[in-house]
């Protein structure tokens, strides 16, 4: 359990470090208006995640993504409606 938690902290610190490096170096080197930055960058992030998502997955696993999308939408709607899950 302790090892599981340590791994979680290491993953979060890795994510935060990546964000810090990007905001500290990359964002300062970009002159593109901030308004364009997130949508265009998220498109590249989406391409990378899509490749990772569909790599080594069976057709049935890919199909199950649709059911999970329904779950995500329902969760958000419940949250918006009740203010809690």
């Amino acid at each position: 359990m302790e090892k599981y938690k340590k791994r979680g902290y290491a993953e979060i610190i890795s994510a935060v470090s990546i964000w810090g490096i990007n905001s500290g170096i990359i964002v300062k080197k970009i002159t593109t208006p901030a308004f364009y930055l997130y949508p265009v960058a998220s498109l590249f992030g989406l391409i990378m995640v899509t490749l990772a998502l569909f790599k080594n997955r069976t057709l049935s696993q890919i199909k199950s993504v649709d059911r999970k999308l329904t779950l995500v939408i329902v969760e958000v709607l419940i949250f918006l409606n009740n203010g809690s899950f």
Binding site: I12, I25, F35, Y38, G45, L53
Partner: protein
């Protein structure tokens, strides 16, 4: 954070209000994501998160700023930003969020500002003031304290 942002935070302006609103939305987002990590693969979560973000914001900027839609000379830098920060960054974050509490995860996200300041100093030679060091120590100290108390 006030110590780090000082003296820029001396006057309330639209930028600070937008920053605070962003913090509220981000905290809400982390709570929702924590809930979802119990039943959904982190990779699938990031996939849909980036899908909605890309689709909705691209439509919005196209409608509002149809001219000079993209600055192509900087596309490689933006691609790097998207792949690392919005790709790897969020996958790591959501994987970690499944293992620790959202409260501890949110506390650790404050380290992002510190890393950016340290890198700004190393790469761009920006000065680090006493207030910044003091604020940084408070963030690190508070983060350790929150994690120790919660665990």
């Amino acid at each position: 954070m006030v110590l780090i942002l000082s003296p820029q935070i001396s006057a309330i302006n639209i930028g600070i209000i937008a920053g605070l609103a962003s913090a509220i939305f981000y905290a809400t987002h982390t709570i929702i994501e924590k809930r979802l990590t119990l039943s959904v693969d982190p990779l699938v979560e990031v996939f849909y998160k980036n899908s909605f973000a890309a689709a909705l914001s691209l439509i919005a900027i196209y409608l509002m700023y149809s001219q000079n839609f993209l600055i192509f000379s900087e596309i490689s830098k933006i691609a790097f930003l998207g792949i690392t920060a919005l790709g790897f960054g969020f996958i790591f974050f959501f994987k970690g969020l499944g293992k620790v509490s959202s409260q501890n995860a949110m506390t650790l996200t404050y380290l992002e500002a510190l890393i950016a300041i340290v890198l700004g100093s190393i790469v761009f030679g920006e000065a680090i003031e006493t207030n910044t060091i003091l604020g940084g120590l408070l963030i690190i100290g508070a983060g350790i304290a929150v994690i120790k108390i919660n665990d």
